[in-house]
Symmetry: C2
Subunit: 436 residues, 2 copies
């Protein structure tokens, strides 16, 4: 019945590699029915051969080097689960594609830095380069953009793409709601203890991981080369429990959003904390869930939500790519042939415009608000609301303002003026409001 055999090599036997092996073991017969081919893991490459593992490697060839795996002539597909933009992962993918093997990878850093070049290499060899697992875990968002919504011109995407940040912000929000506010550092330490955050959390909490994923999505959505350098990136270290408390009061939730828009003037890609209205669908994507919302000209808005990481969801995405390969599907990696991806002008963040939330620590004294308001007025920034909840004459009190739509450049100048006021005791805290 089976028409063919797909011989798979896996580099990297961490959580995801183990998940892929377990999934193929669990559903081998079902998958064979679905794609008319047997998916068989024939070889692996990983660092520690002696390590105890909760899955069987019986009959599987072991390569001590990833280059050995890349060159193994008896493999059809290489699955790269090593990680990192350079070194072994990059060499493996290049080597495998060079040898005409299909490559499936979950490596967002590699794709964000070298995606277009790898796609070009894959095409020149007639091989597939697939990476559903690199963005939004188990959500089939790459397939949706590349195929399911392929009749549309996509004008915008936004999403929650980093589970660690979303977990931390959700936990901080729970704390505020329960009357036990917790600051970023404390929740991060807990997330690290639980294994939801890395020992070095910078990739996640400073927004870089999300930026990698957004750069990939932007390319697939808008048909431009992957352009990580143009992504404006801010992380969540500056978010305090006080901001989350004010957000709840104002009817918002704070999320680390990835937003990309493509218009006639160019593309603006940005990753930063946002306040989103409580009524927005994305406001309720909590914990380790990811979500992506796309805007297509014929289809309108589409929402995709699911688990953004972890053994099972990531293995699901890797295996979906393997099944596509077994079925003979070969769609260009970024939706268009690499040579037809068109670079578009980058819209600088300074040209962004939107409403803003501003939190100041000021001396509680008559006239302070008038001075702050004057700084905003001088830059044509219009105040929507002002909130000073506590009184503490001649001492420090927090004041919160929200603005109507203003340009990032104007707002930046106004905040610089505000910071210079003698009665303003800390640099202003600013969070962009997105009425999504």
């Amino acid at each position: 019945m089976t028409q063919h055999l797909v011989r798979i090599g896996i580099a990297g036997l961490g959580t995801v590699g183990g998940g892929v092996i377990k999934l193929l073991a669990a559903h081998g017969a079902l998958i064979e029915q679905r794609c008319g081919a047997r998916l068989r893991v024939d070889a692996v490459a990983a660092r520690d051969r002696a390590k105890a593992r909760d899955f069987s490697l019986d009959g599987v060839r072991w390569h001590d080097s990833t280059q050995g795996l890349a060159r193994d002539p008896a493999l059809d597909v290489v699955v790269e689960l090593i990680g990192g933009a350079e070194g072994a992962a990059r060499e493996l993918c290049q080597g495998a594609l060079d040898a005409g093997k299909h490559v499936v990878t979950a490596n967002k850093a590699l794709l964000a830095h070298h995606g277009t070049a790898l796609a070009r290499l894959a095409e020149s060899k007639g091989a597939s380069l697939r990476f559903e697992a690199a963005v939004a875990g188990g959500i089939p968002i790459i397939k949706a953009l590349r195929e399911g919504l392929a009749g549309n011109r996509i004008s915008a995407i936004h999403g929650i793409l980093n589970g660690t940040c979303n977990y931390i912000l959700s936990a901080m929000q729970e704390g505020v709601r329960a009357g036990k506010p917790r600051e970023f550092a404390s929740v991060l330490a807990e997330a690290q203890a639980l294994g939801y955050a890395e020992a070095d959390p910078s990739m996640d909490v400073d927004g870089h991981d999300a930026a990698h994923k957004l750069a990939i999505l932007t390319s697939v959505a808008f048909g431009c080369p992957v352009d990580l350098a143009s992504v404006h990136v801010e992380g969540i270290r500056q978010i305090s429990a006080m901001d989350i408390d004010y957000a709840l009061t104002l009817g918002y939730r704070i999320k680390l959003l990835c937003i990309s828009r493509c218009g006639t003037e160019g593309v603006l890609q940005r990753v930063h904390p946002c306040m989103v209205p409580e009524s927005s669908p994305i406001a309720h994507v909590d914990g380790v869930f990811n979500a992506v919302i796309t805007q297509g000209d014929f289809v309108g808005p589409s929402v995709f939500e699911g688990r953004g990481a972890g053994e099972g969801p990531t293995a699901s995405a890797v295996v979906a790519d393997l099944i596509d390969i077994a079925r003979g599907l070969n769609v260009p990696a970024f939706g268009l042939p690499a040579g037809q991806l068109v670079a578009r002008p980058t819209i600088p963040m300074a040209r962004h415009a939107g409403p803003y939330y501003i939190r100041l620590m000021v001396v509680d004294r008559p006239g302070v608000i008038a001075d702050v308001a004057a700084c905003l007025r001088d830059e044509q920034v219009s105040v929507e609301s002002m909130l000073q909840r506590s009184r503490n004459p001649d001492e420090a009190v927090p004041v919160v303002l929200t603005t109507h739509e203003a340009s990032e450049a104007s707002l930046g100048r106004a905040l610089a003026s505000i910071e210079r006021l003698g009665t303003v005791l800390e640099p202003p805290h600013m969070i962009r409001i997105e009425n999504l």
Copy 2:
């Protein structure tokens, strides 16, 4: 640059047919880049040749009969947008597949009745049968199940698949919230005036359209032949503003849900109004939006949401199928070859178990609740809450109860006993609670 031309014939030039022609006209060059082939509408068949249309048919062959279109030797793909389970639509699809042409259809009734046979015919001819537009409008849910989640065993799906019912229930809810409760008949009449409901609304409001879609999804999700006859179907005509008001009070929303579960004992497919918790993602899918939530064993829950009908979203889905055909993708129509679809036992609705909402109109008199409670107790149905908001001694008052999990069969017997009580003035109203 273009490697090939895909010659398309469209049968049916209503809203969706027009949308497909407009989409291909708007994005022809982009689509050609994306799939390396030109999608060209070469022929159409529709009833009224003279009708004024807001799109051009210049250079397009006109067939007066759908059979002429099916037999047109210079077509690669036929798009069937006629509708209906029998007659012209069925003959067209059979004829086109028989002639080895690929078929793209938005016809849920046809697929719900004859989907498996058509898939078998398509496979025997090496042709594609594709129907993304038949379920959930622009949401690429068929692709997600057939490809994106293909590494998983899917155990459950649920969704909102009928925009008309969702619009009516959303409008009724808005009415209650605004203090101006409106009944079903009045909102239906308005929906008809606005073009959101058909002159004969039965297909929509009685749940049949949703049942067609659920039967298709069930087949793709669980790998069984399409089995419309096994779907338990109830519509929304019995839902009153009073039920919606009580639902809000109890923290629920009322939705017409499509639910399908596959376990070791078999499959239960059902379409009926449900109360879902306010905190459930599906509770907030309002108006003309559709949503589908799938449960996969590796990926966990996945949520797909978007516009469920209309010119643009449906055209988006039809064109995605055309692009897949142009790209040479040919996946079995229901995810498995038709001969490998395995019929599973049908679990009868009587074996369903869950919590229930019951609304009674009773005489306001001591002892009535005790009699009702006794009827429930006799069938082992345990009461979770009871609510009698108004007093009206010796006159009619509504009483609402919610139960803990009970079997449908027990509940049915208990309701029959309750209806026989002299102090119960109307047949009980029952709505199933789904804690999704």
